[in-house]
Subunit: 441 residues, 2 copies
C-alpha cells in the first residue's frame, strides 16, 4: 500500500488538465508536496493516508493564480476613490509610497497573503518596492509567487540605475527562496517610465540570470500616445526594436494595442496579464482578449493592486473577465466559462512560466489546490460546475487551501497566519503611515 | 425609559438619509417593526431593550434593494451558458418554463429568498409566472417585495388577455400581503412582446388599482430596431403616444435610448432598474446611467434573473454598476461609491415607490437593515466605509439581516428558513423539472 500525506475523498474534481474532464466522486492523493494521484474514487489505488480530508459537497480544483498585483497596496485600499489617475497618484499614492518603510510592506503583504488564502489564490505575480519583505511574508503564509522589484526611472538615470541594481540583487537573492515557492523576475515598471537604454539592460540581465520580466504595457491611451510621439514608434514596436520581447515577458494590461502590435506580441509569445476590474475602475478601456487569444497568445488574469480593484478575490476577477469580453465583442459566446477558469489556473501558470509545476491537478505537479464548498444557496443547483465556479462562486466559498502539499486553510481556518494579528498589524501600519505622510505633506 | 424590541449598539452606521453621514460608535433602536432611533451612542436616549445586538466591528446600513429579478430562475442557474440569447431562450429556458409547476416556482423562489437574505438584500422587485407562489415564499422568508405577474402576449391576443386578467387578479389579491411586506404591480413583459392595445389596458388597470408597472425597456438593439420598423416610432416614443409613461413605471435595462427618449423618460419621471451584470453577460450593451441621472432620473440596481447573472448578490452588482459606468464614459470619477450605495438603497426604494417606508435608516421607517462584519482581511483597513462596502464587500460579509423589525439572519444563521431543506428541495425541483422537460423535447 502506497503512502500519502493527504488524501481528499468524495469530491467533484475539475483537474484543468486540458481534457475538459469533470471527475465526480473523485479522490486526490498528495505525497511529499506533490500530487500522487487524481481520479475516480472507485479506480483509486490503495493509499495509506496520514490525513484524510472529506471532500463531500466540495469541488477540488487548482489554486487560482493571480498574474498581476502590487500586494502591499492593501494598505491603501479605498483611500482615495473615484479620482482621475494622475490626481490619485500625485496627491495620495506617491506621497504615501515615499513614506513606506520595509516593515510597512511586510505587514501590507501579509494582509494580502491572508486575503488570498481566504479567497483561494495559491500563486501570484507581484511587482513593488522592498520586494524582499514580500518574499518573507510569502515564506510565512505558505503561498507561491513570482516576485519582481519595481524599477521606475522616470527620467532620472541615477535612480533608474540604482533601482535596476537593487532589482538584480533581489532577483539573485530570492530566486528559489521559501523552499522554491518564490521565484523572481525583473520589474521595469513600464515603457513610459523606463528609458530604452534601461530596458535593454534589463533584458540582458534577465537573460543572464535566466529570469522573466514583469512590465506594465499599453495600459492607457494617453501613455501609448506619448510614447509614439516621443519615439516615433508604438509601444510594442519600440520593444521589438530593442529585442525586448520574448516568451519570458509578462505584460500587464495590454489594453491599447494595434493589430500590428498584437501580431508582434504573438510572434514572440509574450505572456499577458488581463486585469479587467482595474481597467474598468481606472477607466482605461478593454483589452481585446478574444483577438489576443485567437492569435495564440497566453492570457492569465490579474487583480492588479488592491488599491485599484479593491479586492484580491480572483473569483470576482474571473467573472468580470468573462463579462467584459462578452460586452466588448457584443457576443455572449465569447470567453466561455471553462476558458475563464483556464485563464485563472493553467494559463495563469503558463503566463508565469510555472506550467510544469502548477496550474492543474496532474500527477507529479506540486499540490496547489483548493476545495470549494458548493452546499450554498447561491451555488444551487449545480447544473454546470464551470458556470457555478466562474459566475456564482466567491472567494468566501473556498473551504480548504493547499499549497506545495501543505494545508494553509481548512474549514476556513487559516493555519499559517494568525488572522486577528495580521489584521491588527495592517491597520496599525496603515494608520501610522498616514500620520507620517500627513506630517510631510 | 422607552421600550425597544431590538437595540443595536456600537456599530458604524451609514444611514443613507441624504446627509452623507457616517455615524461612528452608533446605536439603533427598533420598536414595533420600525426604527425608533438612530444616532451616536453617547447621545442615545435610554431605551429598555428586549434584544441587544452587539454591533462592534460592524457597519449598519439599509438592507439592499434589488430592483429587477425573476426569482424562481435560480432553478436554471448555469444551465446553458455562453449562448446567443435566442438559442438560450428557445432551446433551454422556454421549454423549461413551459413545464414549470406552481410548486417549482415556490421552491425556486424560496432558494432565491435564502440567497438574498444571506447576501444582505431585504427588498426586491420581481416579474415572473405563478407570482402568488413567490408571495408565499416571501411571506415565509420574511423579506419585502414588489411583485408583478408577467404578461407575455407575443402576438397571441387570447393569451395576452388571459395573462392580463391573471395579473390583475394577482395584483388585487396580493397587494399588502404578508403584513404589508408584499405589494404588487402589473407586469407587461416588454414593448416587443405586448401590443399597444394591451399596454393601454395595462396602464388603465394600473391607474384604477393604484399600482405600478414593471416592464423590460430598450434591452437589446435588435428589439429596439424591430419596434421602430414595425411601428414607425422608437420604443419610448411609442409609449409616450400611448400615455403609458408615468412615475409609477419601473423600466428594467434602458440600454438603447436616444437622447430624445431619455428626455421623454425624464419628463415623466420613469424609474429605472439598471442591471449591469446581466447586460454584460447577455452582451446587449451599457445603459447610459450618468446621462440618465444628469437628467434627474431615479436609478436603482437589479441583478436580473439568477440565470442571467448568475447571482443575486447585490454587493457584486453594485461594484460592477460603478465599474461599468466608469469604463463607458472613460472617466474614473463617474458613479462614485456613495452614489452606487445610494442606488442600491434609497434610490432603489424610490424606484419601487417605497421611499417613505424603506431604503434609509431614519426614525419612523420600517426597520429593514443589515450588519456587515468588517473584521475581515479584505475589508482592512477601513479608510472609507463607502469604498469598502461598494468595492470590497461580498454578500457573505453580511452578518445580520433585519426586515420589518424581525431578525431574519443573525451571525449568518438564517432564522426563518431551514437552509439545508431549502437547498435540497430546490435541487430536487430542478432535477425533476429537467426530467419532465427532457421527456417532452
Amino acid at each position: 500500500m502506497k503512502k500519502a500525506d493527504i488524501i481528499i475523498q468524495n469530491c467533484l474534481i475539475l483537474p484543468m488538465d486540458g481534457k475538459s474532464r469533470i471527475i465526480e466522486d473523485g479522490s486526490i492523493a498528495i505525497e511529499n508536496g506533490k500530487i500522487a494521484h487524481v481520479g475516480k474514487k472507485s479506480k483509486f489505488p490503495s493509499f495509506k493516508g496520514e490525513n484524510i480530508v472529506d471532500g463531500h459537497g466540495k469541488i477540488a480544483m487548482p489554486g487560482l493564480i493571480n498574474c498581476h498585483t502590487h500586494l502591499p497596496m492593501t494598505l491603501f485600499r479605498g483611500i482615495a476613490e473615484d479620482q482621475p489617475l494622475d490626481k490619485w497618484l500625485i496627491e495620495t499614492i506617491w506621497p504615501l509610497e515615499a513614506n513606506l518603510q520595509p516593515d510597512d510592506v511586510y505587514h501590507g503583504a501579509l494582509l494580502g497573503c491572508l486575503e488570498m488564502i481566504k479567497s483561494g489564490t495559491t500563486c501570484f505575480a507581484d511587482m513593488y518596492f522592498h520586494e524582499g519583505k514580500i518574499a518573507e511574508a510569502i515564506e510565512k503564509a505558505g503561498l507561491r509567487a513570482v516576485l519582481a522589484q519595481g524599477i521606475i526611472e522616470a527620467g532620472n538615470r541615477t535612480r533608474g540605475e540604482r533601482m535596476f541594481r537593487e532589482n538584480v540583487d533581489f532577483a539573485k537573492k530570492y530566486h528559489a527562496y521559501a523552499n522554491g515557492r518564490v521565484t523572481t523576475q525583473l520589474g521595469p515598471h513600464a515603457v513610459y517610465s523606463c528609458s530604452p537604454e534601461l530596458l535593454t539592460k534589463v533584458k540582458e540581465a534577465a537573460s543572464a540570470l535566466n529570469v522573466g520580466i514583469h512590465i506594465h504595457l499599453a495600459e492607457s491611451k494617453e501613455m501609448a500616445k506619448e510614447i509614439k510621439e516621443k519615439s516615433g514608434f508604438s509601444e510594442i514596436e519600440l520593444l521589438e526594436n530593442l529585442r525586448f520581447l520574448s516568451p519570458n515577458v509578462l505584460a500587464a494590461h495590454c489594453v491599447h494595442l494595434s493589430r500590428r502590435e498584437m501580431t508582434l506580441m504573438a510572434k514572440h509569445n509574450v505572456k499577458i496579464a488581463y486585469n479587467p476590474i482595474a481597467n474598468m475602475k481606472i477607466a482605461v478601456g478593454t483589452a481585446k482578449i478574444k483577438d489576443l487569444m485567437t492569435l495564440g497568445l497566453t492570457v492569465g488574469i490579474g487583480t492588479d493592486g488592491p488599491a485599484s480593484n479593491n479586492s484580491l478575490d480572483m473569483f470576482e476577477s474571473m467573472k468580470v473577465a468573462a463579462l467584459l469580453q462578452k460586452l466588448h465583442y457584443h457576443d455572449p459566446t465569447v470567453l466561455p466559462t471553462e476558458t475563464a477558469l483556464k485563464m485563472a489556473t493553467i494559463d495563469g501558470a503558463r503566463a508565469l512560466g510555472l506550467e510544469n509545476s502548477v496550474g492543474s491537478l496532474e500527477v507529479g505537479k506540486q499540490a496547489d489546490l483548493i476545495l470549494v464548498d458548493f452546499k450554498k444557496p447561491h451555488l444551487t443547483p449545480m447544473h454546470n460546475p464551470y458556470a457555478n465556479i466562474v459566475y456564482s462562486t466567491h472567494g468566501s466559498d473556498v473551504d480548504t487551501v493547499i499549497a506545495n502539499g501543505k494545508i494553509l486553510m481548512e474549514n476556513r481556518k487559516v493555519k499559517t497566519l494568525n488572522e486577528d494579528e495580521v489584521i491588527r498589524d495592517a491597520e496599525q501600519t496603515a494608520s501610522n503611515l498616514l500620520a507620517r505622510a500627513g506630517t510631510l505633506r
